[in-house]
């Protein structure tokens, strides 16, 4: 088996002391972030991007992904114990998880969430190992027109998952594309929109944009309205499951994993979406749907498995096609490009240690998380009590130093502040930052493939419609747009996001 020998190689890479250490550190930081109020995973990953520049690419990515799925776990702990979803994909977990906790079954809820996530995480990771290479194989036959259409699809996918108006989300994509053109044009060597400023010769660094847009603007929002912290310490109860609970939870976790694995692949990624979808499915499948909302264990197991599976499988489009589905994945792409690695089908051939090492580390990381979360749950609950006023200066300070460390330039620090204010104001106007960052990251790729495709076709735009794969991708993108405007879908989507808020 090819996959098995590759996985064995991956474990070899992942088990080096350094990689193991940073996987642990990432998982730990992720859990911390998931638990602490007022800092989300995207902000944290952007804060830590500069640090990973010092590490080797494999180690850096292992740590970043550890933060990502660690936050997924940490978020559910607080959702269950204090009814505060640490981040948006654990909103659903809070519904039944917190009811279980109130009933004195917090231990069981935590175990179900952790084991469901572990199961889903391992399955999701194996799916990457099996389907990643297949998809990469397909992507090899992609020419410039196909890539262009794929990027268009990926960008429009981010609209579906953005809150609020689709019109604004598309405008944010376009603005991101524009800002992405700042710097030297690779083709002609002309400098674009740099205003003669030498700091802009290479354009804005991804970490600058991300730290401003996610880190600083989040901080400004929290200053205006401090995050909720109604902590009630509760007895957790025994960390075990009865046989009956296990029998109820296991099928739900399997269904959740299936749903999450599929939705995670979609452009736009689907950790949040899949947890809602899984909850809806569980409600429908259950013999007695009235128990939901009153502490149904299936309502914890399904969504928890779903969001974790989706978190893993959303790595597939990023690793194999180079198309990030979410802002987190966009940051991972940024981390790779800093090391001159172009994510895409070539990665498995040119950087096998990166691909397989990352996959193996995810399995290890998921195991670490169960160990970190279950026995240490008391510690995490105590951390919840740290007031935001103490976190705020630390966050701003580390952001500022991190920004400065990128290129020893104070320009980066001020530029990120500018992006922060922009992000804060525009978010208050109902525009999400995620489509912007995807546009920013994918802009150069989009332009390059547009240029190549049109050069090959002698300037004839019909090339995008006459090649079947490209046409198919564009039709899919058009369908997404139509869906967004369709009134019935719009209503459903708004309802989901209102619940998520």
């Amino acid at each position: 088996m090819d996959v098995l020998s590759n996985l064995a190689y991956g474990f070899e890479v992942a088990f080096s002391i350094q990689n193991l250490g940073f996987a642990f550190l990432g998982a730990l930081l992720g859990t911390l972030v998931g638990v602490l109020p007022g800092i989300g995973p995207v902000a944290t990953i952007s804060m830590l991007l500069p640090i990973t520049y010092v590490l080797s690419p494999v180690t850096g990515l292992i740590m970043l992904s550890g933060i990502y799925y660690g936050a997924q776990y940490g978020g559910s702990t607080t959702a269950i114990l204090v009814n505060l979803p640490g981040e948006s994909s654990s909103v659903v977990t809070a519904i039944d998880g917190h009811q279980m906790a109130k009933r004195g079954d917090a231990g069981a809820a935590l175990v179900v969430a952790a084991l469901g996530s572990l199961f889903a995480g391992v399955v999701g990771t194996l799916l990457i190992a099996v389907f990643g290479p297949v998809l990469a194989e397909v992507a090899f036959y992609f020419g410039a027109p196909e890539y262009f259409s794929l990027v268009v699809l990926g960008l429009l996918g981010s609209v579906v998952l953005a809150h609020g108006s689709a019109l604004k989300a598309v405008a944010m994509i376009l603005l991101g594309l524009m800002v992405g053109t700042i710097g030297t044009d690779v083709n002609s060597g002309a400098s674009r929109f740099t205003f003669g400023n030498l700091n802009l010769i290479d354009g804005f660094e991804i970490a600058v944009v991300a730290m401003g847009l996610f880190g600083i603007s989040e901080l400004l929002r929290n200053l205006e309205e401090p995050p909720l912290q109604n902590v009630v310490t509760r007895k957790v109860g025994g960390l075990w499951l009865s046989r009956k609970q296990f029998r109820e939870a296991a099928p739900a976790a399997i269904r959740g994993t299936t749903i999450g694995s599929i939705l995670g692949l979609l452009p736009g990624g689907g950790a949040v979406l899949s947890s809602f979808a899984s909850y809806a499915v569980e409600k429908r499948v259950a013999k007695d749907s009235s128990i939901f909302g009153k502490g149904a264990i299936q309502g914890v197991a399904g969504p928890e498995a779903a969001n974790n599976a989706a978190a893993q499988t959303s790595f597939i489009p990023m690793l194999t096609l180079g198309i990030p589905a979410t802002s987190t994945m966009a940051l991972m792409v940024g981390a790779m490009t800093v090391h001159n690695i172009q994510p895409g089908p070539m990665i498995m051939q040119n950087q096998p240690e990166l691909f397989w090492g990352l996959i193996a580390s995810m399995v290890i990381g998921n195991l670490i998380l169960v160990i970190l979360n279950l026995p240490l749950v008391g510690l995490w609950v105590r951390l919840l009590k740290i007031p935001y006023r103490l976190l705020l200066p630390a966050i701003l300070l580390f952001t500022a130093i991190g920004l400065f460390s990128l290129g020893n330039s104070t320009f980066d620090v001020m530029a990120a502040f500018g992006f922060g204010v922009f992000g804060y104001v525009i978010a208050k106007c109902g525009c999400e930052p995620a489509p912007f960052i995807l546009g920013f990251i994918l802009g150069p790729l989009l332009e390059e493939n547009l240029r190549r495709a049109l050069t090959i076709s002698q300037g004839d735009p019909a090339v995008f419609f006459t090649r079947p794969v490209s046409l198919g991708l564009l039709i899919a993108a058009a369908c997404l747009l139509v869906l967004m405007v369709a009134p019935a879908f719009r209503r459903n989507r708004e309802e989901i996001f209102q619940e998520a808020d």
């Binding site: 640090i51 010092v54 108006s165 019109l167 604004k168 598309v170 405008a171 376009l174 603005l175 594309l177 524009m178 053109t181 083709n187 002609s188 002309a190 674009r192 929109f193 205003f195 600083i216 400004l220 200053l223 205006e224 401090p226 007031p387 935001y388 006023r389 103490l390 705020l392 200066p393 630390a394 701003l396 300070l397 500022a400 130093i401 400065f404 460390s405 020893n408 104070t410 620090v413 001020m414 502040f417 922060g420 204010v421 804060y424 104001v425 525009i426 208050k428 106007c429 109902g430 525009c431 989009l446 332009e447 547009l450 240029r451 049109l454 050069t455 002698q458 300037g459 004839d460 735009p461």
Partner: protein, 151 residues
């Protein structure tokens, strides 16, 4: 007056200004043809699309606002200003005063921003965080910055 504080109007205007600014700036660059795209081709096409959307968003804001008033945009300027001052002071102090003092200043300024601040806490975190960041970033991570005014 009501119109200026409508969220759609503001975001539409922001998009429109950005699109127009990019379009004006791209005048000096060559546009080329689809077959041989110049550096201005992509930005101008994208900018044009952005401008259309911006006008649509703006128009939507105006018509909706005229039909019935919506919740206006409220910005809290003071917190933004405090963070701005903290960042500027940090940036200016970094080279002459060194990382530790600059960090302490940043923490002290931004620590005064939350409504529920407590001064002893601000003082303690200024000391702890600045020393910690000095050791962490300069010693452990090899950041190229002076630690103190004299070195």
């Amino acid at each position: 007056m009501r119109l200026i504080r409508n969220k759609d109007v503001i975001s539409g205007a922001v998009f429109a200004i950005a699109a127009i600014a990019f379009m004006i700036q791209s005048r000096t660059l060559t546009f080329g043809s689809p077959m041989e795209m110049g550096p201005a081709f992509f930005p101008r096409v994208v900018g044009g699309m952005l401008l259309v959307l911006a006008i649509a968003i703006l128009a939507k804001g105006v018509t909706e606002e005229l039909r019935e008033p919506t919740e206006p945009l409220r910005l809290h300027v003071l917190p933004i200003f405090k963070v701005f001052v903290a960042v500027v002071v940090f940036v200016l102090a970094l080279r002459p005063l060194g990382l530790i003092l600059a960090s302490a200043l940043l923490v002290a300024i931004v620590g005064s921003a939350p409504k529920d601040r407590r001064w002893p806490e601000v003082a303690i975190s200024a000391v702890v965080l600045s020393v910690l960041s000095g050791f962490l970033f300069v010693h452990a991570l090899g950041l190229q910055a002076p630690l103190m005014p004299w070195r």
